[in-house]
């Protein structure tokens, strides 16, 4: 008898789960209902910036014709899951329907964190996560004017590059003393800051946004910073991190992580044996990853359980990241900040070549635990392959 799998969310990870399942489920044991909040099927969010120079949504789409035509997959666009009744094993949808499930996978992703500064909700303030966000930024861009990105992480730098491509003069405001503070250390941050600066991006590091001021028309007119700087701008983009969307689980009485996220074990199981959580909304043993690669590993683990294969547990974090904007090449792998007890750091800064390279090694002095590359990340692949996970 066919069982019903409901997948709440059609982002990159939710989509990967369904694709995986369909390729392994040869007997069509599962009927899959995918609830997509957005009006378009899953797309490559990592390549969102390419949307800026006018590439159509289709080129980013992950759902091919075969997927869309698959009779075993019922993709419901513009339909969000709003509640879960675990006793009745039903999902309530935003269109009023109720779906009974045999298995439920929460893949609701994350939402951008918008710091509660005065003026954060003025017209002219944007986020940078969805195709709609990028479309609204494109529409609001004013070539020649300053544009302010709040948050100097990976996504913030992508957003700054997007503003640059739209003809604006980008500013990046970062609370930490360096860019991409999660991925790189001070040495990498220094190289990164120089390269980003060479792109014409103005940096405001180690300072907070204190207020966003409105002009006479009620729209964004200026951003004020903790160091006293005032930037006149019609456009603000928030990219100050994300928060897992764990409301469905919370409301259904499922445990969540200390810092949010649906609490799951290494097999991505929640406390309810019929419910899993994967991707940005999941807190695996309490930890949210916020990256697509770990999300894909989670999807694979759940697929294996659904089709009765030997369920390999989530193998831990491959948090390797690489930023490649025009002329800026930065990568971070594994234990980049040498938090492993006894770890040894070996760094090379080349001021002429403008590069920084740090290896994090186990106490034996040759087992690679992590790395940071800035200015030249051509070793990224090789290092990633030799990385040891703990």
């Amino acid at each position: 008898m066919t069982r019903t799998l409901v997948v709440a969310g059609h982002g990159m990870v939710g989509h990967r789960l369904v694709e995986d399942l369909r390729s392994h489920d040869r007997t069509d044991a599962w009927h899959v209902i995918v609830l997509a909040e957005e009006s378009v099927p899953a797309y490559d969010r990592v390549a969102l910036s390419s949307r800026v120079d006018g590439r159509g949504a289709d080129s980013l789409s992950l759902a091919g014709p075969a997927f869309l035509a698959d009779p075993a997959v019922d993709l419901r666009l513009s339909t969000a899951a709003v509640a879960v009744d675990r006793a009745a094993r039903t999902v309530h949808c935003s269109d009023g329907t109720r779906l009974r499930y045999d298995a439920l996978v929460l893949a609701t992703g994350a939402r951008p964190f918008v710091p509660p500064v005065p003026g954060h909700d003025l017209p002219g303030c944007h986020r940078y996560r969805t195709l709609d966000d990028v479309d609204s930024i494109r529409a609001a861009a004013r070539p020649g004017r300053a544009g302010v990105v709040i948050g100097g992480g990976l996504l913030g730098l992508e957003a700054a590059n997007a503003l640059r491509l739209l003809g604006m003069e980008p500013h990046v405001v970062e609370l930490a003393p360096r860019l991409m503070p999660v991925q790189v250390d001070d040495g990498g941050g220094a190289v990164l800051a120089r390269l980003i600066g060479e792109l014409g991006v103005r940096l405001h590091l180690a300072t907070a946004t204190t207020a966003i001021d409105a002009g006479p028309d009620g729209r964004v007119a200026a951003v004020r910073l903790g160091d006293g700087t005032r930037i006149d701008t019609p456009l603000v983009v928030f990219s100050a991190g994300v928060r897992p969307r764990d409301e469905l689980a919370r409301d259904a009485g499922l445990p969540v992580g200390e810092r949010g996220g649906v609490l799951v074990d290494t097999h991505c199981r929640t406390a309810d044996p019929r419910i899993w959580a994967i991707g940005d909304c999941a807190a695996v043993d309490g930890r949210c990853y916020g990256l697509v690669a770990p999300g894909y590993r989670m999807a694979e683990t759940v697929t294996a359980q659904l089709v009765g294969l030997d369920p390999a547990p989530f193998p831990g974090a491959d948090t390797a990241t690489r930023l490649k904007l025009l002329g800026v090449d930065v990568a971070s792998l594994g234990d980049a900040h040498a938090t492993t007890p006894g770890a040894i750091e070996f760094a090379t800064t080349d001021t002429r070549a403008g590069t920084y390279r740090k290896l994090v090694l186990a106490p034996d002095g040759h087992t690679l635990l992590g790395a940071i590359l800035a200015g030249d990340a051509s070793e990224y692949g090789a290092l990633r392959a030799s990385l040891v996970h703990h």
Binding site: G187, A338, P341, G342, A343, I344, E345, F346, A347, T348, T349, D350, T351, R352, L359, L361, P363, G365
Partner: protein, 455 residues
């Protein structure tokens, strides 16, 4: 090569210059004016009692060197290329070298009792009571560590925040302080001494520390009277150019009296080369070795186009290396004895660093230059040109620890770069000892007197 070279001053730099001039083939008259000093590098061993005071004496000059010990130069007659001495003698020169040195700067006026300058000849060991050392430079650090290791209560007082400030980078300096503290040296950074009474040192914050002996290395006052009176350009010290020439091209200056890059040892080598027609090589920045603390500082921290940094906080190890091209121009190393040895050798010989820089800093054997098994004729001490064979002979004759080997062979009396190797050799000889053939005259190991020398 046949010029008359006259050296005024007779400290280690002058001594080294004379030796190197002869070694490089200088055949002309060579005269040294002044009473011979002692070897700074061995002062610590004398203070701890590891070596007798005369062990620090500078060795005899090569044959054919005129040494005029009892006189003091009083006037330079540049026009006539002559130096007048206080006994009325006149010494003519084609090339004059000023090596008048410097006098230790005393730390304060209220210091009495057993108070000694570290950068002055050490004439006796200090007592067994508590010792206070003033200063943050290499002499102060080395002395504090050596005295502590002989069991004396030792406190190191310095006004600045860090040890070897300007020589080591801040991370290395902090780690060096950790090592000193771990060895039991009491540290008082940010403090100055205001009064030393017999048995007690009082600091500026009022703290009274037990101190029978006070040792200080709180700066030097270059001795420049002679140069100044002769109308040579003198600023803080005697002004010299990159070739160690003063404002008079016939007059050179080196060592503590000269405002020149590097240390006296290196300057002597450079000047000897210059005066004998070889290519001089004067590297910028000082080279500081603290073998007892496995610490090496080269040049100005941060110098170079490429910076290599190794951090191993769990094991108290740190190395920073500045490269220009493939050559080492700066280094701050603490806690990595093999890296200290390898980097010292590469820098001394101006060799390129190996491709595997991590192995170089971690001291993985393959990265050590000349790592091939040493033979009996391998030179261990390049300064005094002492081979392994010579050291073996001395060891079998009873010189069983590094200080005794130094006293017997002069190995290690120069730059100090081979200190680690001397230690290792003592251990190796001890292992080989029971089966050492052809050394029949040697007494059995258990009856051989051994000096206690913690390493």
């Amino acid at each position: 090569m046949n010029d008359r070279v006259l050296v005024v001053g007779h400290g280690p730099a002058a001594h080294r210059l004379v030796h190197r001039l002869r070694a490089l083939g200088h055949t002309g008259p060579l005269t040294v004016l002044g009473r011979p000093g002692t070897h700074h590098g061995l002062a610590t061993a004398v203070l701890t009692g590891a070596l007798p005071p005369d062990a620090a004496d500078l060795p005899a000059h090569p044959a054919g060197t005129a040494e005029v010990h009892h006189v003091r130069a009083v006037r330079i007659d540049r026009a006539r290329h002559a130096v007048h001495a206080d006994d009325g003698t006149v010494h003519r020169y084609d090339t004059l070298v000023l090596a008048t040195g410097a006098r230790p700067r005393r730390p304060g006026p209220h210091l009495g009792g057993d108070v000694r300058a570290l950068r002055a000849p050490a004439r006796s060991a200090v007592g067994d009571g508590p010792v206070a050392v003033l200063g943050s430079g290499p002499y102060a650090v080395e002395a504090a560590l050596a005295l502590r290791r002989t069991g004396r209560d030792t406190v190191l007082v310095h006004p600045g925040e860090r040890l070897l400030d300007g020589l080591l980078d801040p991370d290395a300096a902090d780690l060096l302080a950790v090592r000193l503290a771990a060895a039991g040296v009491d540290l008082r950074p940010g403090r100055t001494a205001v009064e030393h009474l017999p048995g007690t040192l009082v600091l500026d914050d009022g703290e009274a520390l037990p101190a029978d002996t006070l040792l200080f290395d709180t700066g030097l006052r270059p001795t420049t009277d002679l140069a100044r009176a002769a109308g040579l350009a003198v600023h803080r010290a005697v002004t010299v150019d990159a070739l160690l020439r003063t404002s008079d091209p016939a007059v050179h200056a080196l060592g503590d009296c000269a405002d020149a890059p590097g240390d006296g040892w290196e300057q002597a080598e450079a000047l000897a080369r210059l005066l004998t027609g070889a290519t001089p090589r004067l590297r910028p920045g000082p080279v500081t070795r603290l073998p007892a603390a496995d610490t090496l500082a080269i040049g100005t921290p941060g110098d170079g186009d490429q910076q290599l940094t190794l951090r191993d906080p769990a094991r108290g190890r740190y190395a920073a290396l500045g490269l220009r091209g493939e050559r080492i121009v700066s280094a701050s190393i603490v806690g990595l004895p093999r890296a200290v040895a390898a980097v010292t050798q590469l820098h001394d010989r101006d060799l390129p660093v190996p491709a595997d820089r991590l192995a170089l800093l971690l001291g993985t054997p393959a990265a050590l230059p000349g790592a091939a098994e040493p033979g009996p004729d391998t030179v261990v001490c390049h300064c005094a040109t002492v081979t392994r064979r010579t050291l073996a002979t001395a060891w079998h004759a009873g010189a069983c620890d590094p200080a005794a080997l130094t006293a017997a062979t002069r190995a290690g009396s120069g730059c100090g770069g081979c200190a680690g190797e001397l230690r290792a050799l003592c251990q190796a000889f001890a292992r080989e000892d029971p089966a050492a053939p052809g050394t029949g005259a040697v007494p059995a190991a258990r009856t051989r007197p051994r000096t206690e020398q913690p390493v």
